[in-house]
Every structure is written in structure tokens, then in C-alpha cells.
């Protein structure tokens, strides 16, 4: 196991947002996090990335309690992409990607060839190499999201946490981003809304409702007509697609 959560509880005031969640993300696999709006996906991702502390329960990174690891060592292995990464500053793409090396550098250390290699690899993988000297404000939505992904990859993470990364992207970029993330040899946890994408690109799925996990398993175990009706309130038919041999959902 790469990330393991046990009995997480997180409250804002008296409202319980995360209510006793346990899950395991296996190394190198892509874990999809599904659930209606307000079911607690974003909050869970923040807990898993170590950005918020749960009131009870614990999170283990390779068997080590995340509370005993400092912020910087966590950032050296866990990368996080928030839902709307916006800025009014007009950085170059290359400078944004270089931010990913921040946790690997001390206050006084210079820029090393290893840093350079990580940044170049990240730019190549995300297809942003040609745009490296473009300004952030001149990028399209898809390019901004790919730049954020490149920044996260430059962190050389072993775990990648993404919060609805395909929001606001056109279908070409949605598929491209999901394909890239699922092909990476690192552990990924992705919050998603598109159930068919979840089916196609995730190895395992976890479905949340009102801060609890209501289903988990492989896509064909989880994505059933009953679950879609109970959790997402939609009538649907689920068939195995002849194209990718995974469940495909038809909304009726």
C-alpha cells in the first residue's frame, strides 16, 4: 500500500464532512474517487495530501503516520493539484513547473542538473515543452491544467492527488489528461465526475456519499445500475463496452 487511510473523521464546526473513511491506494495504480457534489471528495483529498489534519483516524504513507512526517518531506513524495489553480501573476510556464522543485531544494541550494532533468521530463510528458516560455495568462484552460500537472510531476512524486482535473477541459484534453495520468507509474488518486472516464481510466473506484464510502472495488464491481440510482439519482444501463472491455454507462 502506498497511501492508507483509517477511520478518518473531519468536521467543520459541528458539521461532519468526512465520516469514518478508510481506504487503500495501491502502488502504481489509479484510484478514482466518485460521488455527488458535496459528498466530501475534495475534503478527503486534502486530508490525504496532508493539507488538513483529521480530528481522528490516521493516514499512513508507506506505513509511516503522516503526522510524524514534516511538510517538506511529504511534498517531496506527494503532489497535489487543486481544482481551480488560478493566479493573477504572469509567470512563464517554465517558472510554474520549476515551483515543483521547491520541496527538493533548500533555501541556499542552487539549481542542479537533477532539477533541470525533472523539469524537462515533466514538460515532455505533459506536452508543454514547446510552450515553456509562454506566459501563464496567455494559456488556454487545457494548457493551464497541463502546466499544473507538469508542476506536480516535477515534484518527482510517488503519489499524485488530483481534484477534478478535467473540469473545464474540452473532450480531447479530458481524454489526453486521463490517459496520461493513468499511464504514469505512480500512485494516483483522482476525484472525478465523469463516470465513463472513471470506468475507462481507473483501476479501482471509491464512491462517496455524505462523507461516507458507499461502494469500492474495480469499475465493474462498483458501477452498477442500482448504485447509480441510489447515489447519483440517475437511471442508467451499464454494459461492457466492446471497445475497451470495461463498463460503459448509458443514461436513459
Amino acid at each position: 500500500m502506498s497511501i492508507k487511510a483509517e477511520n478518518l473523521v473531519w468536521k467543520i464546526g459541528s458539521k461532519t464532512v468526512i465520516d469514518g473513511i478508510s481506504l487503500v491506494a495501491e502502488p502504481g495504480k489509479t484510484l478514482g474517487l466518485l460521488g455527488p457534489n458535496g459528498s466530501g471528495k475534495t475534503s478527503l483529498l486534502r486530508l490525504l495530501a496532508g493539507l488538513k489534519r483529521p480530528q481522528s483516524g490516521q493516514i499512513m504513507l508507506d506505513g509511516e503516520d503522516i503526522r510524524t512526517i514534516g511538510r517538506r518531506p511529504i511534498a517531496q513524495r506527494v503532489a497535489f493539484i487543486e481544482q481551480h489553480a488560478a493566479t493573477n501573476s504572469n509567470l512563464l510556464v517554465i517558472d510554474v513547473v520549476k515551483l515543483g522543485r521547491f520541496p527538493h531544494r533548500s533555501m541556499f541550494s542552487g539549481w542542479t542538473p537533477a532539477d533541470d532533468a525533472a523539469v524537462n521530463d515533466a514538460l515532455e510528458q505533459t506536452g508543454m515543452a514547446a510552450k515553456r516560455n509562454d506566459r501563464w495568462q496567455s494559456l488556454s484552460g487545457g494548457e493551464k491544467q497541463r502546466t499544473q500537472l507538469a508542476r506536480a510531476l516535477a515534484q518527482s512524486p510517488r503519489e499524485l492527488i488530483l481534484d477534478e482535473p478535467t473540469n473545464h477541459l474540452d473532450i480531447h484534453h479530458q481524454i489526453g489528461l486521463m490517459r496520461l495520468v493513468s499511464s504514469l507509474p505512480i500512485t494516483s488518486i483522482i476525484a472525478l465526475h465523469d463516470l465513463n472516464h472513471a470506468s475507462m481510466f481507473c483501476d479501482r473506484l471509491v464512491v462517496m456519499e455524505a462523507g461516507k464510502i458507499v461502494a469500492s472495488g474495480t469499475p465493474d464491481e462498483v458501477l452498477t445500475q442500482d448504485l447509480l440510482r441510489d447515489v447519483f439519482s440517475v437511471e442508467a444501463r451499464v454494459e461492457i463496452s466492446p471497445h475497451h472491455r470495461r463498463p460503459h454507462i448509458y443514461f436513459v
Binding site: L51, F80, E82, A85, N90, L99, F102, Q148
Partner: protein, 352 residues
């Protein structure tokens, strides 16, 4: 292969070192030039060469015969004034740059956020209510006021669950509150002469500053500049907000507290000496960003340099615009700053 890579790296480092040294030399020469011009302007015009000789004489490098009155005016009045203006401009511009980055708002600066108003309340409390005396206790009072204003803004903007826009509104409230407090203290506890002095000081004036003020402000702003430069990369990492900064391994709470305290300290020291000078912290970082881009390792020194030059020029303008009369420096900076503020506000709203 590795050898050539290493020598290439070393050559590049040496090149950067030379470039850095060259830029530093240009910056110091530029500042020295405007300081020289500033020293020369006034009821008693003094040529640049005389000022230069006076400085080298005092350093013990030369022994040129000079007019005694010139030398006194240079040393006892104008040089300390010009040098304090250098550090005040640098400090206010740095504070503005840091606040704009941390709050992610292009309109943030100590004056707009009410930090200057808080500092002036603290200073007035020390002067009129007589809490302690001397330059240090003035600065301490200003710092307490600045920090109180900052806490007020932070609590109000957090309590309102607001984004960066709310911070500006909270700053407006803080300005109003602390300006009211200042007026209250002045009208209830001060006499007519004190009230007039305070009113003049509130708009900013380099009139009273001498070498002790220079010593304090140079140490505080010098320390501030070095501390900011050490945090330059961290400030870059705040570009996408607190969440992304935290995910990059930054202890956001601690970093923000340290940097805010630094801006409060610089602002408070400056306000306690020369009053509230607005819009320097707003205009200069934008101009500097336009020149050197948004990366803080370049932006911060550029802000310090541009702020220093801008402030000395503003001081020159305040003395030269109307013959036989000195305008408050805040009037000059506001005349330049307010149109600029409107421009940024207009552009900012169109973007968002």
C-alpha cells in the same frame, strides 16, 4: 562530459556573479546620483561636485577646501534626509510587493490595508499621550499600532471567509477605524500646536529626519531586504494560493506570519519617522514587475531600487514644485499614485 558540464556551470555562475556585481554597481551609482541631486536642491543650491567632495572629505579620502555653510547644510540636513528617503522608498516598495504576493491582490500595500493608519495611531499615542519617549519607543508604538491594524484586517477578512478581494475591504475598514482613533487622540488630548504638527506629519514629511533616524531605518530596511530575499522562492510558490503553497511543502501559517511581521516592522519604522506616505508600495512593485517579471528573486531587489529612486524624486518634487514651500510628501506620491491605482483597479476588474 561531466567536466565540461561542471566548467560550463562554473562559467555560468561566474557570469551571473559578474552580472550581479554590475547591476549592483549601476544601482548604487543611480541612487548616489539622485541623492546628490536631492542634496543640491533647495533655498541654497549646492553643486553636485561640492556634495561629492564633502562626502569624500568626511570619509578622510580627500581634503578639499569647501564653503563651511555648504558643508553644514549637506551634513546636518540634506544628506541624512535624502538617505532616509532612499530607505523609506525601498522599505515601502518591498512591503507592497510582499503583501501583493501573499494576498494575491494587485491593490494590496501597507497604506491601502490600513497598516500605515495603524502605525500612525500608535505613533500619535506615544507622542501625545506621552507613552515613553525617543526614536525607539516611537517605532515600538508604531509597530504595535501596525500590528493591531494587521490583526484587525486578518481577522475581518478571514472571518468573512473572503478571498483576496475581502482583504481590501477589511483594509478600508481598518484605515477608517485607525484614522478615527488618531483624530480622537489628537483632538481630545493634544493642544493646537500638536494638532497642527500631527496633521503635517500624517501626510508625510522628511523635514525632521537626521542621522539617528537614518541609522534605525537603514538597519530595519536592510534586514527586511535580506530576509525578503531569503524568502524569494517561497513567495513565488504562493502564486497559486495557500493550498498549492502548502502542497509544495511550505508551512503556510508560519511563513505568512513571518512575512507579514516583516512588512509591519518596516512600515511601522518608516511611518514613525516620516508619517504615512501612500501609494509607493502600490505603484513601485507594478512598475518593477513590468520591468523584470514576476519572479521574486529579481522583483524584490528591483522594487527596493525603484522605490528608493522614486521616493528621493518625490522628495525633490515636494521641495521644488512650489518655490519657498515644502509640500507634504504624501501629497506628491498620491498625485502619482491615485491615477495608477485607478488604472490597476480598472484592468483588474476586467480580468476577473
Amino acid at each position: 562530459m561531466t567536466v565540461t558540464a561542471d566548467t560550463g556551470g562554473a562559467r555560468r555562475a561566474f557570469g551571473q556573479f559578474l552580472l550581479l556585481g554590475g547591476l549592483l554597481l549601476v544601482a548604487i551609482t543611480g541612487i548616489a546620483l539622485v541623492v546628490g541631486i536631492s542634496v543640491g536642491i533647495g533655498d541654497l543650491p549646492i553643486p553636485l561636485a561640492t556634495t561629492f567632495s564633502a562626502v569624500t572629505n568626511r570619509m578622510g579620502w580627500t581634503a578639499i577646501e569647501l564653503n563651511r555653510i555648504h558643508e553644514t547644510v549637506i551634513w546636518d540636513y540634506r544628506l541624512s534626509r535624502a538617505l532616509v528617503a532612499v530607505f523609506c522608498g525601498a522599505g515601502l516598495a518591498l512591503s507592497g510587493a510582499i503583501l501583493q504576493s501573499l494576498l494575491r491582490n494587485p491593490l494590496a500595500e501597507p497604506y491601502v490595508l490600513g497598516i500605515s493608519a495603524g502605525a500612525s495611531t500608535g505613533t500619535v499615542a506615544v507622542v501625545i499621550l506621552g507613552l515613553g519617549a525617543g526614536t525607539i519607543s516611537l517605532s515600538a508604538g508604531a509597530f504595535a499600532g501596525a500590528f493591531a491594524a494587521f490583526c484587525f484586517v486578518a481577522l475581518l477578512s478571514n472571518g468573512a471567509r473572503g478571498g483576496p478581494d475581502r482583504t481590501i475591504l477589511a483594509g478600508v475598514a481598518a484605515s477608517q477605524l485607525f484614522n478615527a482613533a488618531t483624530s480622537y487622540i489628537v483632538t481630545t488630548a493634544g493642544n493646537a500646536q500638536q494638532a497642527r504638527d500631527v496633521m503635517f506629519w500624517l501626510l508625510g514629511s522628511f523635514g525632521g529626519v537626521r542621522w539617528p533616524e537614518f541609522a534605525l531605518v537603514s538597519v530595519v530596511v536592510g534586514f527586511g531586504l535580506i530576509a525578503c530575499l531569503l524568502h524569494a522562492r517561497m513567495l513565488d510558490a504562493f502564486a497559486f494560493g495557500d493550498e498549492t503553497a502548502a502542497s509544495l511543502g511550505i508551512n503556510v501559517g508560519r511563513a505568512k506570519l513571518a512575512l507579514f511581521a516583516l512588512t509591519a516592522m518596516m512600515t511601522a519604522t518608516i511611518v514613525s519617522m516620516v508619517g504615512t506616505i501612500g501609494f509607493v508600495g502600490l505603484v513601485v512593485p507594478h512598475a518593477a514587475r513590468f520591468l523584470v517579471g514576476p519572479l521574486h528573486v529579481r522583483l524584490l531587489p528591483a522594487c527596493a531600487f525603484t522605490g528608493a529612486i522614486f521616493m528621493v524624486l518625490a522628495d525633490i518634487a515636494s521641495r521644488a514644485l512650489i518655490p519657498q514651500q515644502v509640500l507634504p510628501i504624501g501629497v506628491v506620491t498620491a498625485l502619482v499614485g491615485v491615477p495608477f491605482f485607478c488604472l490597476i483597479l480598472y484592468r483588474y476588474q476586467r480580468v476577473s
